[in-house]
Amino acid sequence: MRLRIRPELLVFLAPAFTLIIVFFVAPLILSFYVSFTHLESWDLRDMRLWTAENRTLLYNYYRLFYMLTHDPDMQKVVLTTIAFTFITLVLNVLGGLGLALAAYLIEERLSTLFRSLWLLPRLTPVAVYALLWYYFFLGGPQGTLNALLMALGVIRKPVDWGFASPPLGPWAVIIYVNALVGVSFGMIIFYSALKSVPWEHVIAARVDGASTLQVVRYILIPSLRWHIMFVTVWQLLSLLTTYAHIFLLVDWGLVDRWWSTTWSLYVFMKAFYTGAGETTDQGLAAAAATILVAIGAALGLITLRLMRFHEAMTEPRGEV
């Protein structure tokens, strides 16, 4: 059969793919180009590829490398990125698994209640969600956590959580805040997977006298192998690229700037943030973004394999 592209196909695809080309493909190429320029403070008239002093295309990449090896703030960013990503990842996957299992094992109505509740952080507007935890971890006596712990007599004076014994304090805050958003992804995927575990398997084990824990350990969790892998990779990717909540916490001065800045937040702030005496440097930001893209693309390809793409791509049947 000969395949040809019909005009009506273009009608169906044009809106979506125009947007994809304008807002994904073109910006990616532009960002990559910017990573070789000296673009600063968004002065688009001055986008030279090289200047009199620096006659190299890789200027921004050299600078980035130099900062990685010499700038203590930049080293904090790298450590924070690694610690934040991995600890939050583990909490997200285990938390999601725990929530899904608990929701699976309890009565239906309560299960819906809890699952909905844990979806809430994801749906809450970013600015409101950050605000909620801003009040909670606030350094003064007005901070919820401080007030509670002081009333209980655990601490005498209010603790400035976002700055306490760095890096532990700031890390704990940003990890906790983001982990609560992330668990719902694993919860939803694991829960729907648990629902499709053949009930006969559980019954058979029950008849043989298995306890709930044994059912979980030997039947439910093994059947989630692939889902756990998928959620892990997908969440890893998401955590590498999330920064909105942390940005607000840094912006509001709740947490130590450098012990809370992850790689993607660093890119964002280098490109857009003009705090006290700070100027933006898009060339450097774009170079840092390129590294992120490379990691993202690799993880994306792994995810694609895990999703067993081909199963979801049944051939169209209504073809004439």
Binding site: I106, P121, P125, V128, W226, P316
Partner: protein, 323 residues
């Protein structure tokens, strides 16, 4: 293993069946696990409740004063100040924000994102579900990769284009400029949702039997007519779910509105998100209740949708999530 289509399939009615054959007391297990879940959920519930209480109080409510029986000075002043838009009466300095234009901007962006996403992905979703063309598989894979893409890397390029167009065409036309800023924000934010939405809609189209459509095509109806008259009425639940997701995505967004409507206009234009960002970064702790009121106002539509569409969200959210 996992297929995206599977994520959206309806749950089977297994609930009753489970109860009948269960040999261990569900009640005891439910009580123990619910207690654990409840304890883990407590801080989460607490922060939302405290936000609402604080919005009606003179000082930040920590909950401790309520437990200890100390009084909280309740007041409507925060809400009055917020809704009258006279933030400067409470705040020192020059914060005069038209709260209604902030609400309007937020609404416009959310609605805009919804319309763009629904139109573009119901069209493309149909093509991927029903039409055979070269590069179909490759494009679908490409779309998944896009969904997984680091948004911050794109933002630099997207903002460059924004600035170019702004300087070239809209710098001297203030009225048009605001319309441009909103429109650009909508298109840029909607694009982020497009990849996953195409997958979502493709999944919904895949489940529709093709016989009726096929006979219409044989009778000579055009693809567009078939899509509009036969397919769309059948995927109404899917479109509703997609509309809610994309509206909420436009509504909850911070980064795009911050960059395009706030930074891009030199701080002239506000949405609820950037208003809160500014309230907290500018004011003394004593005025935090005002930010809480703005937060509650901003949270309301989300909560309403959330309560009304819980089930739908739980079932269909799986594919459209990030973070």
């Amino acid at each position: 293993m996992l297929s995206l289509r599977g994520l959206f399939s309806r749950r089977e009615g297994r609930v009753e069946e489970r109860r009948d054959v269960e040999t261990v007391s569900v009640t005891r297990r439910t009580i123990v696990l619910s207690a654990i879940l409840g304890a883990a959920s407590l801080p989460l519930v607490l922060v939302y409740v405290l936000l609402v209480l604080t919005s009606f109080s003179k000082d930040v409510v920590t909950g401790v004063e309520l437990l200890q029986g100390r009084g909280v000075e309740w007041t409507l002043a925060n809400w009055a100040a917020l809704l009258s838009g006279q933030l400067s009466t409470i705040l020192p300095g020059t914060v005069t924000v038209n709260i209604y234009s902030a609400i309007l901007n937020t609404l416009l962006i959310a609605f805009g994102v919804m319309v763009v996403v629904v139109v573009a992905s119901t069209l493309a979703g149909y093509a991927f579900s029903r039409m055979r063309f070269p590069g179909r598989r490759g494009l679908m894979q490409f779309i998944i990769l896009l969904h997984a893409f680091p948004g911050v890397a794109l933002l630099i390029g997207v903002y460059m284009v924004y600035l170019w167009l702004l300087n070239a065409f809209f710098a001297r036309a203030p009225g048009l400029r605001d319309a441009y800023v909103i429109a650009y924000t909508i298109l840029a934010r909607a694009s982020l949702e497009i990849p996953m939405s195409i997958w979502l809609m493709k999944g919904f189209f895949d489940k529709i039997p093709w016989e009726v459509e096929w006979s219409a095509l044989v009778d000579g109806a055009s693809r567009l007519r078939v899509w509009w008259e036969i397919l769309l009425p059948q995927v109404k639940p899917g479109i509703a779910a997609l509309a809610i997701f994309s509206f909420l995505a436009g509504w909850e967004d911070f980064v795009y509105v911050y960059v395009f409507t706030y930074l891009g206009t030199g701080g002239r234009m506000f949405t609820l998100a950037t208003l809160i960002e500014q309230l907290v970064s500018r004011i003394e702790t004593a005025e935090l209740p005002l930010a809480a009121a703005a937060g509650v106002l901003y949270l309301l539509p989300t909560l309403i949708f959330f309560i009304l569409t819980q089930r739908l969200l739980l079932e269909a959210y799986a594919g459209g999530v990030k973070g």
